[in-house]
Structure formats: structure tokens, C-alpha cells
């Protein structure tokens, strides 16, 4: 029963939540190893867009994913597997890696919480294009209608792994992935589940690309977050999935623990639909709420994976929020935006950046952004510009989106 929950009620403080598996798909490649190496060294993965025509756009690059033709073996039939859309394929690669790493067997009672902004929008685009050009031609249109919808990718995932659900899809713009993980964390913390499959995904599509271009938010060159001369973001795509469990559940089955999620905060910025409040009030509120739920102070955060899209407005706002939130600690705080490596993958970003934080905590390194030329003098914090080993115990990840959706997650090294 979703309500009232039949699960035992526990004090949230007593229920620790750990990550036992991750799967990641970005323009750097598929899987932990290649992504960890790419983010550790700050290797940018941008290239000219090939998925659709961008000749009429100002920007012409993005961080595209090269998907292998084969999918991991799942419970989906061969016929179903052949028909899968690009977003589902990314999801399945990420979920298979996470599931295997976690060593999960049959799923049993398993909530799935996903974040995305637009699912498989390219199919929606194809549907509309055919409907406009050939109104009477219905061939393939029903398939496009079904498969473009956000819930279909989640249902494919559930069928692939024999997961009974429930399936919840949060679409809070670019904070979707972080909100999904945060909601999953709360389900576990409050004793409503013992394990949850969660994450985010989004694929590049023409509508979104043209949309950001119309707002003049895209940079023609690879993005430079927190640079004094930054001029916009670079889009990316991908998926990341995390297997979350209560600590007790993970330890009872002898699972290898990758890290712990200790805090989550969310807040809404009502300043404007697309522009954050100049002082970053909601961003500050989300970071503060996350620290409160983790019962730690900003001084105890070693690294911040910033939202850092590289648009003039976003970075200025986030800078103001981090400066205020960290206070005197700001000058010691190490910050970077890994969007300088794999672009802004919208609904996937929060989940991808969660995995990057776990990689950094496990490997004891800081993800650099090597594209920075001249740091914005407004930044009171230290931007990581070169690969570096570091002793880090806690990492904080910010995700902010259109509509004023702000979300912050805090991770702790597992030792």
C-alpha cells in the first residue's frame, strides 16, 4: 500500500542510506571505469552534433553518447529489445551496471524513482513532423506516441529487470535527477522501503537544443563554468542509475558499499520561470536544508559539485549562494562543475553528478574543469582546475532547473 505504508515507522535519523551500485552513461563512455578516468582528468567530450540538423543554430556542439548496438541481456524479449528507443537503451545500460555491481537478485518489492525532463522527445518530434507533413499517414505513429512518453522508459526498465514497481517519474526540469535521488533517499530514511532503484536520464533532441539556443543560453564553444568570460552552456545527454539501500539491508546481505547519502534539500525559486533570483536564495535554502538533514555544517563539506551550467546568470547566482552558505569556509572550499566535461544532460545531470561525487569520494580525487581560463572574481571558493588527489570525506552536489527547482544532495565517503 502506498498509503498508509505498512512498513515499520522509524526515526529518519536512525535509518542510514547507502549506495551499493551505480551505472553511468555519458559522452565519455559507458561504465564506472571510463567515466571515472574521464572526470578525474577533466577530459572534455564535446563534438559536432550528429543526431539532428543544427545548421540553423548558433551553437553546433554537444556531448553526444555513442551507444553500442548491443544491449545487456535482460528479461525483455528480443522483439521488444529491437524496438527500444535511445533513452531506454541508455537507461538499461546504466541500470544493468548498477544492478550487477549491487549484486541484487530478484527485485521483490522495489520502488523505482526516475528523473527526466523529456523522456524520448525525439520520437515526439518525429510524430509531430509526420503529422504536419503527411496528416493522413499513420504508419509508425502509434509506436511513436507510446514510446516517446516518459512513463514508457520506466516501464521498459521495470520489464527488463522484473521490477513490480511502483514507478515514480519526477520532472523538475534540470533538478529532476537530484530530486529523484532525494525522494528515493527519503523513502528509505522513513522506512517506506529497504531498497530503491533511482536515477535520471535524458537524450539530446532538437526541441531542447533549439530551445536553449533560442534563449541564447548555448555557447558556440565548449562551456566554461565560473569563468569570468563564460558565455553559455553546452548540452549533453546520458543516464545514471543508483541502487540505494538502508545500511542495515546492505550489511545484512554483505554488500560492498560505495558511499553514503547523508543529506537532501529542495527549495523553489519563484523569481522567474528561467532566471534564478540574483542572490540565489533558493539555492542557498536547498544547500542549507541538505546540511540540516545531514546534521552537518558547511565547514564539513570538502567538495562541491556545482550545478555550474556556465550561463552568466546561473553561475552568478550559484556563486552568490555558495559564498553566502559557506561563509568564511568558502576560501577553503573546492568547487568544480563537471558539465565542463560531459555537458549539461538536463534531467540526467543530478544523477550523473551524484555518481561523480561517489567516484571522487571513493578514489580520493577532485574532478577538475580544465576549460577555465579566468575565474570569475566573484567566486570566493577555490575552483578545481587540474587533476588532483585529495582527502575528501563529504561532497555536496547542486542541481537547479527551470521553474525554480533547486535540489542539493550530500554524500559521505564509506570507510
Amino acid at each position: 500500500m502506498l498509503y498508509p505504508s505498512l512498513k515499520s515507522s522509524v526515526l529518519p535519523e536512525s535509518n542510514r542510506v547507502v549506495v551499493t551500485g551505480t551505472g553511468i552513461v555519458t559522452a565519455l563512455g559507458l561504465g564506472w571505469r571510463v567515466n571515472a578516468e574521464g572526470f578525474r582528468t577533466g577530459r572534455a567530450a564535446f563534438r559536432p552534433v550528429t543526431l539532428f540538423d543544427v545548421s540553423g543554430q548558433r551553437a553546433k556542439i554537444a556531448a553526444e553518447v555513442d551507444l553500442p548496438p548491443e544491449l545487456p541481456r535482460t528479461k525483455l524479449s528480443a522483439a521488444t529489445t529491437r524496438r527500444l528507443d535511445r533513452a531506454t537503451r541508455m537507461l538499461l545500460h546504466a541500470a544493468h551496471e548498477a544492478w550487477t555491481q549491487a549484486g541484487w537478485g530478484s527485485s521483490g518489492d522495489l520502488p523505482v524513482v526516475l528523473g527526466t525532463t523529456s523522456g524520448e522527445m525525439s520520437l515526439g518530434e518525429q510524430y509531430l513532423q509526420q503529422a504536419l507533413v503527411s496528416p493522413l499517414a499513420k504508419r509508425r505513429q502509434p509506436t511513436r506516441v507510446v514510446h516517446y512518453q516518459v512513463q514508457q522508459q520506466g516501464l521498459n526498465l521495470c520489464s527488463a529487470f522484473g521490477i513490480p514497481g511502483p514507478l515514480t517519474t519526477i520532472s523538475n526540469a534540470c533538478a529532476s535527477g537530484a530530486n529523484a535521488i532525494g525522494h528515493a533517499w527519503e523513502l528509505l530514511r522513513h522506512g517506506r522501503a529497504e531498497k530503491v532503484l533511482t536515477g535520471g536520464y535524458d537524450t539530446l533532441c532538437r526541441l531542447t537544443f533549439a530551445g536553449f539556443d533560442s534563449l541564447q543560453a548555448l555557447s558556440p564553444a565548449p562551456c566554461r563554468p565560473f569563468d569570468a568570460h563564460r558565455d553559455g552552456l553546452t548540452l549533453g545527454e546520458g543516464a545514471a542509475i543508483l541502487t540505494l539501500e538502508t545500511l542495515a539491508h546492505a550489511q545484512n546481505r554483505g554488500a560492498d558499499i560505495l558511499g553514503e547519502i547523508i543529506g537532501y534539500g529542495a527549495a523553489t525559486d519563484t523569481h522567474h520561470l528561467t532566471q534564478p533570483h540574483p542572490e540565489g536564495k533558493a539555492a542557498w535554502a536547498a544547500m542549507t536544508a541538505a546540511c540540516l538533514s545531514a546534521n552537518i555544517s558547511p565547514m564539513q563539506i570538502d567538495y562541491v559539485n556545482a550545478h555550474g551550467t556556465a550561463t552568466p546568470h546561473n553561475d552568478a547566482t550559484e556563486t552568490a549562494a555558495i559564498n553566502r552558505w559557506a561563509g568564511e569556509h568558502a576560501s577553503h572550499l573546492r568547487v568544480s562543475s563537471t558539465k565542463s566535461v560531459c555537458g549539461h544532460s538536463l534531467g540526467a545531470a543530478g544523477a550523473i553528478e551524484a555518481v561523480i561525487c561517489l567516484m571522487a569520494l571513493r578514489g580520493q580525487w577532485l574532478p577538475p574543469q580544465t576549460s577555465l581560463n579566468q575565474p570569475d572574481p566573484a567566486c570566493h571558493f577555490r575552483i578545481v582546475t587540474a587533476p588532483a588527489a585529495a582527502k575528501i570525506e563529504t561532497a555536496l552536489s547542486n542541481s537547479f532547473g527551470f521553474g525554480g527547482a533547486n535540489a542539493t544532495l550530500i554524500f559521505r565517503r564509506w570507510s
Binding site: P166, L167, A210, S214, L215
Partner: protein
Amino acid sequence: MNQILVCGLGAVSPAGWSVSRLQAALAKGDPLPGQNLVRPGGKNPLRIRQVPPPETRPECFAHPRLRRASAITLHAVTAALEALGEEVVPIQSGAVRLGIIFCTMAGNVAYSRRFFEEVLRDPATASPLFFPETVFNAPASHLAAYLGTHGIGYTLVGDDGTFLQGLAMAANWLLDDRVDGVVVVGAEEMDWVVTEAIHLFQRDAIHGAGAGAIYLKRGYGPGASATLSRITDSFLFTQNQSRSEAARKMRMQLPSDDSSELLCLSSQPAHRAATAEILAWRDWSGHRLAPKAVLGEAFAATAAWQCVAACDSIARGRFSGVNVSVVGVNQQSIGARFQACAEAVQDPG
């Protein structure tokens, strides 16, 4: 303090801009008259049920954030404000911590279509005014801006059953003391792209639009419309579970039979797509109500209307308990149960 109270209801539908309009249409029981929609380049008109223009323009439409907002936003905000009623004042002053859960399936499709048509014509001149309104969470954002709330807000996307998932999420936020109240809104808007897509699967379906909203708080409450006493598990339509199986499992988690109670169904009894739901509830001897037959297919809004109608029936003293059954379009089967407050107080959760 563990009761989840229904403290307000709101509705915008093809019947009009209020719960009373909705309830009057449902009480009459006749399918509302439809309109013909001829899409650009099309020949055969498609039947739809539009939301009629409001008799008087709601004051909230003058808010800067709502001036050029899409129809789905206007539906959602109007329904939410009706549900919140006088509580808007303490919310705007910050005395009430409000959570917002917005549920939709098709979302802001009209602006998305218009924007993409512009992209197809010439991406260099596509309007930056449209694009921000295409995101699923734009209506929730506009509602938060109107109310001046900065707390948690989620937009959930899925089929009609998502609205019931939203109610369960809201109940849990209240139990966890994250917020003082949550407004859960289900909304959709009219556009020929969606109407035509519906007809690919169900030629006799009539596309509707609008919104429904329920305001939930925690406590014991004479004065509340009803209490939310149960949301069943969500049974997915997957490779391993058919619609019929999912509907049957949902039905098993709701009370067996009471001839004095109401069952609020998600499908139109005469439609082929209703088979799974009809079979699941064939043993039900109580009253039945199928809002979709009167109002049309409006996905998340339909499920919201079901719940609003259920709670309003209880508030008017017509029934002491109502089961809401949702066998969704393509994702899940899920049910809810609402009870009269007095009854629920005797049986605290």
C-alpha cells in the same frame, strides 16, 4: 494527528470553472456536448470537450507569471486556488508551509507544438517565449510564484494513476512533518496533437481538458470534506503483468463491497478499454460513477476529477465512503479510498 484530511477541492473541466459545475454535470449524468476540432491540414473533425471560457476572468490571471501562461497552467492554478480557498492568505504570508505536487501526462503540449513548428520552419527565429513554458514543471512553478511559496514542489509525469501516486506522496510528506499542507493538482490541456494521438488508439474517445485539485492537511477535522484513508499499491502494466491482472490486484486492496457506498471508475463502461476495470469490479453492488463518460478523456485531470467528485460526494453527506479506481491509460492500476471524517475518526490510522 495521523489522519490525512481533505481540506479543499478544486476543479476546472468541460463543465466549467468550479467543483459545483463539475458536480452538477456528474449529477445530471449526461455526456456533455462536444465540439468539433479540425486540425491544420485535416479533413475529418475530431470530437473534443473543451473547457468553456470562464464567465468572469479569474483575478489571478492578471498575475505577471500567468499573463501568457499556457492553458494547462491556468487550469491548474485556478483549480488549486479553489482547493486552497481562504488558506491562500496564510500561505502567502508564510504561516503555512505548503508543498505542491503537480501531476500530468501530456503536459504543456500546445506551447511545445507551437515551438517545435517554429523550429521546423526556421530554428533561428523560434520564439524564446514559448520554450520555457514547454517544461513539465512550468505550471507548478507558476502556482508557487503566485502563492509566493518556496518549499518543496514536485512535478510527476505518468498516466492518470499518477494523480493517486501524488496523493500518497503528499500524505507521506504530511506524516513526516515536512509541510503543513499539500495541494495536489492533476491537469491537462487541449491540443490537436493529443486529440489525434488519442484517436490512433481509441476512435470513440472524446478528448477533454482541465484540472482537479485536492488540498490535504494532517490532523483530526470536523469541517474537512473527507479523509484519505488509503492509496493502494501501484500495479504496473509490464511484460509480466497485464492490465486485467493489475486491475484485479488493485481491486483486492480496496474494501470488498458495500451497497451504500460509491465506486468512482476511471473508464467509460461502454468502451473496449474498460474491460479490465469492469471485470475487476464485477462484484461491486454499490453505486457507480464514471466521470470520463460525462467529461471526456483528460488523463491526470480525469483521475483528479474522480477524486474530487468522490470527496465532494462525502462532503455533501451522500456517501460515507468512496472507492476510486484508476486503471490507467498505459502505466498502472491504482486505487484510493476516501471516508467521511466521523467514520475515519473512529478508526484512526
